[in-house]
Amino acid sequence: MINACAMIRSRRRHGLIALGAALLYISPPLQNAAAAAGKSFVVGYFYPATYYGDDTCPKGLNPLPDVFFKRDLKILGLPQADIDAMFDKDYNNQNGKPTTKWVSVAATRGNGRDNVYLHPTTVPDAHLMPAVGRFGYGFNLDGKGAASPDSYEDPQTHDKGVNNRLFRAIGCIPAYKGSPPPQPPLEAEYRWDSTRMAMGAWLITISGETLSRDGDVTVTFESSIDPATTQDANAHIQSDMTYRVLARPASRNVLHGVLKNGVVTTDPTTIVMNCDPYIQPTFEFREARLRLRLTPTGRLEGVLGGYQPWYPIYWSHAKVGYIDERGFGVDTPALYYALRSNADAYPDPKSGENTAISAAYMIEGVPAFIAHEGDADDAARLAPNTAHLCATLSQCAASLESALTRVLGSAEPLSPGAPPIARRLRPDQYRRVIADVFGPNVKIEGRFEPDVRENGLFAVGVGRIGVTSTGMEQYDAMARGVAAQVVDEAHRGTLIPCKPESATAADDACAAQFFAKAAPLLYRRPLTRDEFDQAVVLAGTAAQSLKSFYSGLEMSLAGMLESPQFLFRQEVAEPDRDHPGGYRLDAYSKASQLSFFLWNSGPDAKLMAAAQSGRLQTRSGLAAEVDRMLQSPRLEAGVRAFFADMLQFDLFDTLAKDAQIYPKWTAKVAQDAEEQTLRGIVDLLLVQRGDYRDIFTTRKTFLTPLLGSVYGVPVAQTGGAEQQPYEFPDGDPRAGLHAQASFVALHSHEGLSSPTLRGKALRELLLCEPVPAPPGNVNFATAQDTHNPNFKTMRARLTAHRTDPTCAGCHKLMDPMGLALENFDSDAGYRTAENGEPLDTSGELDGIEFTDAAGLGRALHDNPATGPCFVRRLYSYATGRPPARRDMPWIRYLEKGFAEDGYRAPDLMRRIATSENFYRVSAPPAMLASRGASGE
């Protein structure tokens, strides 16, 4: 026996919006497409389509349990007084729960003996009042049009002759009554919600060549192995979840349909969907059709109509028994009779009785991703949820704009990536790669030409530069220096894996062995044939002319070390197999992208092996490498490099303090200050896995005795010059990064502090809010009170910054924060007065007031820009580009995730490093355009 889905409680939501001019919504880019265009939805609600009109139930609604129970018992023959007594005592007992005695009475009310749910005909037909009236949802299934008896007019399409006898049968049962719009039927919400929890989600995919104009489409109605159980904040089904569909799913119906004026209508066919195993294992519809409309908000709304076996509908109620009757108010035996008498199709060959009833069901869906799992064929197939990447940027912008207006669901938005860019190695990266390949004893002598910052980061600026001639001179000198050490007698034993046949002549075989081992690590990828041959040949010819194998090797190696392949991180793109039409970094570029991000160095042997084997291009392979790298102690180097860039610690190189005014400040103090901050950050973010925002409030730090001298706190010298853990007492203003020497001393003048420089640094570096430049022709004459040239405190000297409107507009972004830090002199020394006058360190930050630096720290901690700023900086640092509009959906997703992760930096790093977006390349590489061209 086929069981059918039971009745569905009405839902407290609006029903179908009346169709006006249908608008086809331009899909967000992350939708299904088995063909060129597609959208996927998960069915959020599915319930018998009932229409509520003034004329639907002219005789009123069918009776509720208290009425029909009493009625049936009376028919049975029980005296009225007994019935009333039983009712009062047992049905409406003290606790509100009927007694089991009552339940058994109700369940056998037909003849006092048999279960009415199994034997509904033991109760006489109560003749449920049918739903009549003009309107009813559905389709003209029998083709007879308005001549069809008991047919309706569809309120959406205004088709006449709609066959929906199910509606007729149940439409005036109170629980199934359609409510006036926008009220939904109550039954649907409860029934479907319960069913939905226990079954695989139903998925509808509409696909075709294009969905932006009329034409043929395919509608796939299938089931997932994942249930649709997640509810959003409004207790509706969460959109944009991902549902897995097996190669051979439990249900799949592929229907042909036509898209016209924004509505898809499918051809009549049989539709079979599996439902929950308990209430209704299967839904079956004959001659079934779908009418689906895509709403401007992205939801799917539609109607399914067809002939459904009527007994399973009955059984889905009867199976639940008394609960259905009492809880939902459905007179179950009466329902039996109603369904049976309204059945209008598929007569049983023996009895002649109709076995099916015309029906229509409301469908509501929200967008979903579909992940095809299963056998190898499936894996190789296009993953429908990311079918077409935006072919042009403007397409991306248009569709992403609309995605931006929606609440971001749990799924990661697609970022279209950027064109490949070559980034010059930073000095510390250069050193690390050399140390990784040739060991830490090889000295690098020479001066790197300065990097440029862009968008606040060197990591972005390195993509904007080549090499100046001075820089080239220095790279040449450094390259020769390194190469000379590699071949010298102290190192050649360990670094060169072979001995030449003769030390005074070329030996191509040995040279080849050396380069085969070292060169791929230096270039961070396998060498091309041309590159490898050249290295060996140059070594040979130089060896000949210099009469020394080692000198020859040295020359060739030096050449490699000053080549762009070594000095720059090149990004090589390949077609993205997982997203046809798109591009991604090839395996080696991906390895570099990952290792420079997390470890600030080139890939190690394991990562190179993962790239070589192809594992790195799989999701699991990437995740495994990322996790390995996040566990490694080398992560610290990456985190230090990031913060040194973000906090502009390169300024330490040119930092000077007047020795007479600040005798405590020496170069060693600067070193210790930098280390204090970086060590503290590493401890907070990596060791303690703490909340990033706590960098402004943490009282724990690491001090050397020299720093203790500067801060004015005791730090014993017994630990030597090592950093020792130190905790400032509660409420001490010296807590937090903004109070540390690496911040206050760095952003000060040589001879005095600077609230403006400090405030500007906080605003720009840590809140990511740029401060406009000073206007031209600033006339300071009006800004200075010439009658009192000797301002005692900085706050007094900066009065004009606050009071003059031309100054205040920008200075109010900086000075209030900076003035709170006036306790810290230019050398970070703590003071409470300036020139004899006590300091006023109060201020406000975006509305939060504070009285000292500790309060400022709390205000920074709580500022809504703090977390997102860190995300954007890390994003820029990792990708080497400033955030662009097209990247904002992903960045906002990362910001959200960062907050959800408790602002833990390693988790954010993991999100970035495991995301496809991190490795996506937007434009086809130039090589495709000039394929075939070679040489100059």
């Binding site: 530069i465 041309d530 007047d658 031209g776 022709n777 130039a926």
Partner: protein, 453 residues
Amino acid sequence: MMINSHLKLSRRRVLRGMMSGAAVTVALPMLDCFLDSKGTALAAGGVPLPVCFGTWFYGCGLNPGRWEPKTVGANYEFGVELQQLTPFRNKINVYSQMSALLDGRPRGAHTVGPAVILQGTTPPTLDHAFNPEPSIDVLIADVIGKRTRFRSLEVSCTGNPVSTHSKRAGSAMNPSEISPLALYTRLFGAEFKDPNAADFTPDPAVMARRSVLSAVGDQTRRLMSQLGAADRAHLEQYLTSLRELEQQLDLQLERPAPLAACSVPAKPAETPVGTEVAQVTANHRLFAKLLAHALACDQTRVFNVMLTDGLSQLRFAGEANTQHLFTHEDPIDQRLGYQPNVIRFVPPVLENLGALLTELDGIREGDRTLLDRMLVLAYTDSGYAKNHTTDNIPMLTAGGAGGRMKTGIHFAAAKGDPVTRVSLTVQQAVGLPASSFGTESNRTTKTITEVMA
């Protein structure tokens, strides 16, 4: 492989190597210096030595009303602030009343002035490192410095390698040397070929290095076809720099023509770098000597000296304020009419300019001096640092550009003339075929003919 020690004939060489039976050829380009008459101009006696050019920058300007010469034209009378340059008055031109015009763009304090003077444009963003235009010293060096060991030399007297205004088109700024000792090593260390040395042996190691660099360049060019446009532009810059390095090596393989005025200076001691007046002065003095000798030995023909940054951090030991802070915070003395603490910085700044001119003028070349055959452009960032204005920026040139520029003249422009008139004039004076310079309001075609010979 044979090395031709006379090195005057055809330069094309081919290195052959065998790799799995295939011949690999690495070719050296033809060096063109020997084909040009300029090369023979380096020979001694009677033939004019090449013109040289230098820029000399100091931040925060001078003080309006005090620096402008009191009279116009030849035999001008110095204003009070420039009087300490009197010994060089006949070799100095002063240009007043010219401005860097903003065209409505935001003023990057202390950066827009130098950008207009040297690059002709206001920077598109306040991040002047990415102003795409080349600086005139690079334009000039590309013409007159083609065949010297160093295209140009940049130094910073305050120890900041990022302190520089020199840049190639589309490139990052050329970084500055901060250590006189490092500059000495670079100039006169192991790779220096003394023009006056008795004998000359080309070093085979240099030969080998040369061919390696050539191969690197060739391979880089093959790599470029795979890159996007932006990356290609950066690699073009890399290749330009590589070519200059190759040229340095080529010159090491040449016997240089003797130069009577060339002598190797004493090796300087390691000096502390900093922004104190005494430190800056000491380092500047060492740099000035090295640069003068570098020019005299034809190691370069262009230099750029940054005495301070635009935001001059020059300070007197023990004082809290730097020059820049004083320019903003020192109130104008009502009686004197100027900022008394600010003017204190002018004498040490100009003393340093005087020291440079002394070094350059001290190198005798026949009956003239090195200063006579070169042109030094002394410029600054502000007309009045107190207000960040770029009106009436003090401009000076020193030297006669080998006779092409008249000296000892004060030129006062019509008020509001762009300061690029000076930039255009100096380019023409050193022989560039420039007919205009600058963009938008700073664009000019008007040479200052009053100073052209």
